[in-house]
Amino acid sequence: MSALLAAYGAAGGAPPATMESLRVLEDGTARAIVGSPWPDGAPLDEAGVYETTLAPGDLEALRALAQDQDLRAAAGEHGPIRGDSGARSISVGEELTIRWGAFADPPPAVKAAEARLRELLARVREHPVAVLRLRDGELSNPGSEPVTYRVELRTGDGDNLSAYHAATPVPAGPSHGELGPGETRRIALGQGLNAFARGALEVAVDDRPLALDVFVVSQSAVVTDPKTVG
């Protein structure tokens, strides 16, 4: 396996926890594993594993970033790191890590690097491998590998934490099962502009099972009569 070039992660916080990660290897392989970018990042209606190979230009830019002296000088921890708000991290190779709290103020080089890595993360997410998506009243897997899932579904108005906590669980209760590549499952949702799915996925990563806590937010909940859903 190729060596690690750079990695980014945002994780932790009060439930539902944030979890999004990106790892780019020297050979250009880029893998993102996302349980929930939200509420730190923009609401996302899917979670899972994504992978692609970076374009040569992106890879060169990342190599240059990894050599940035200001970034390397920021190695270490920038606090405070608190349980309720989680932490971010950037790694350059296996030997250098920068970690900071959600409300910490790391050096500008760190913020610039984070922005660059988040851009790459968004692009890698365009390449689903094993993903659970909640959209238009359906659960689906747009990837190429199967996912096993168990999620609690809620509907409400708004896409922030207070909206989630005020949202109403769907009458049908938790949804669970396996979705093969390209498979879709219609679900019963109640009233509300947004739908939330929180639970766990099991996906294969490097041929090993990974249990992933997931939390996704659909911007387009569909009111469905439970009786018509199979």
Binding site: A14, T18, I33, S91, S162
Partner: protein
């Protein structure tokens, strides 16, 4: 302690004329002032003629002249209340007694007198003999002494000098508690003697609620106590004497909590590990006659917080924390939680941020221009439930999410849910895990434990009970 003071009672050097001689007008007036008209009338009615036989008082006089202390003490016990009252009003007898008795004998003589003779008269004789606190305490502690005889001492003037003379600071506090009376009277005597915060607190504890100075301390007592006590101690004393505060504490401690976090945020395939987080307990706890109050002084920095922002947070904290539980030990007492927004001397600082609202923690909240806590897309301010959760941290409670099975069991006293452990550990259902969840009885433990360590003497232990 004050220095001994000069006597206000004049020294008497002349003996009273013989009992058979008519009482001088001045002596009768003096008797009327100290023993009362009835006693004096009775004495005059009994006044013997030149040929009369020896009266009990004559016998007492003779015994005193003969310095027969034991006999005189016995004779005091043989006098009727009226005779004893009249005898104690006789300064010439008092002078003889001073010569015949030592301190202890004088005290025994006064204690030998039958009920019905005023405490003030007995104390007057004892003081003439240079009495001491032990003797005075024995006399005023006699349960047969009517309350009114004790409290009238405050209005007489000279008894205060007597007590200042024989008492140290602690003894004076003990004396006024034994004597009873109004709180302002008691405090004035303590101030006259000299006092300290512990003694004032002791008096406050001994004072019935109905006797507190709820209208505030009189000016002279304010001035007196300020001289005797330090600034903080004075403030506490005022709260105790006027509002019923019993005891209090400033809690300032920290500990670590553990919960699961990803070993490497950039690589979830590495799994989870237990991570330590610091939890700081900083608050003031007050035990009053009516409640247990947990007060957290919070300094807000960053964005401006309006009354509307503060109301959201105060109401959120109150909705979760008030009335969820109370304590009982035979009487019922609410547990009140109060955030206090202060510019300085804060227990905690919270930085307020501009929206959009993302995550909060114990030191970072949001205060938007519309003070809208949501839910929904218009939210620009930390909501009520989140404020309640973070308030839990400010009073020293740990997060209850991403727990080990052992910690889950320890916190909830129940086994974790069946099935394999979630990747990130277990969450409880309380407010310290899910912000919409309830406060649980376990969250009250630190406060009731403190209360039970600070109970007043004789108080039964308190227990936490659900409900308002």
């Amino acid at each position: 302690m004050r220095e001994r003071i000069a006597r206000t009672e004049p020294e008497l050097t002349e003996e009273r004329p013989p009992a058979s001689a008519p009482a001088a007008a001045s002596t009768i007036v003096q008797l009327q002032q100290t023993a009362g008209n009835a006693a004096v009338s009775a004495m005059l009615a009994r006044a013997p003629t030149a040929t009369a036989t020896e009266t009990p008082t004559d016998k007492l006089r003779k015994l005193l002249r003969d310095k027969d202390a034991a006999g005189a003490i016995a004779q005091f016990g043989a006098l009727s209340a009226t005779e004893a009252g009249a005898a104690l009003a006789d300064q010439s007898l008092r002078n003889l007694a001073v010569k015949a008795f030592d301190d202890d004998e004088m005290a025994r003589a006064m204690r030998a007198i039958v009920p019905g003779v005023r405490l003030a008269q007995k104390l007057n004789w004892m003081w003439a003999e240079e009495t001491n606190w032990k003797a005075v305490k024995a006399l005023i502690s006699d349960p047969k002494v009517p309350a009114g005889e004790k409290t009238e001492l405050y209005d007489m003037g000279w008894p205060r000098d007597l007590f200042v003379d024989v008492c140290g600071n602690a003894e004076m506090a003990e004396a006024v508690i034994i004597l009873g009376g109004r709180l302002d009277q008691q405090l004035r005597w303590m101030i006259a003697e000299g006092t300290d915060e512990q003694l004032v607190y002791k008096l406050a504890w001994a004072t019935p609620t109905a006797n507190l100075l709820t209208g505030g301390l009189p000016r002279d007592i304010q001035v007196g106590l300020r001289k005797e006590l330090g600034g903080k101690e004075y403030q506490r004393a005022v709260q105790m004497l006027t509002q019923g505060l019993l005891t209090w504490d400033e809690i300032d401690s920290s500990r670590t909590e553990q919960h699961y976090e990803l070993k490497d945020a950039s690589d979830p395939t590495k799994g989870y590990e237990l991570v330590d987080f610091k939890v700081e307990s900083k608050y003031e706890i007050n035990y009053t006659r009516t409640e247990l109050r947990v007060k957290v002084r919070i300094k807000l920095t960053g964005e401006q917080a309006t009354a509307a922002h503060k109301a959201i947070w105060e109401n959120g904290i109150a909705a979760k924390w008030h009335n969820a539980f109370h304590v009982e030990n035979g009487r019922r007492m609410p547990i009140v939680f109060e955030p206090v927004w202060v510019p300085n001397q804060a227990h905690h600082e919270i930085e307020l941020h501009k929206p959009p609202v993302v995550r909060e923690d114990a030191g970072n909240w949001y205060a938007g221009p519309n003070a809208n806590p949501g839910p929904g897309t218009t939210q620009d301010t930390t909501d009520a439930n989140t404020a309640a959760h973070e308030f839990g941290h400010l009073i020293g409670l740990a997060d209850e999410y991403n727990l080990t099975a052992a910690d889950y069991q320890k916190m909830t006293s129940t086994a974790p849910p069946p099935g394999p452990m979630p990747a990130g550990g277990y969450d409880t259902t309380s407010v310290m895990a899910v912000i919409t969840g309830p406060v649980e009885g376990r969250h009250m433990r630190p406060f009731v434990n403190w209360l039970n360590r600070h109970r007043l003497p004789g108080e039964k232990p308190y227990k936490v009970v659900a409900g308002a």
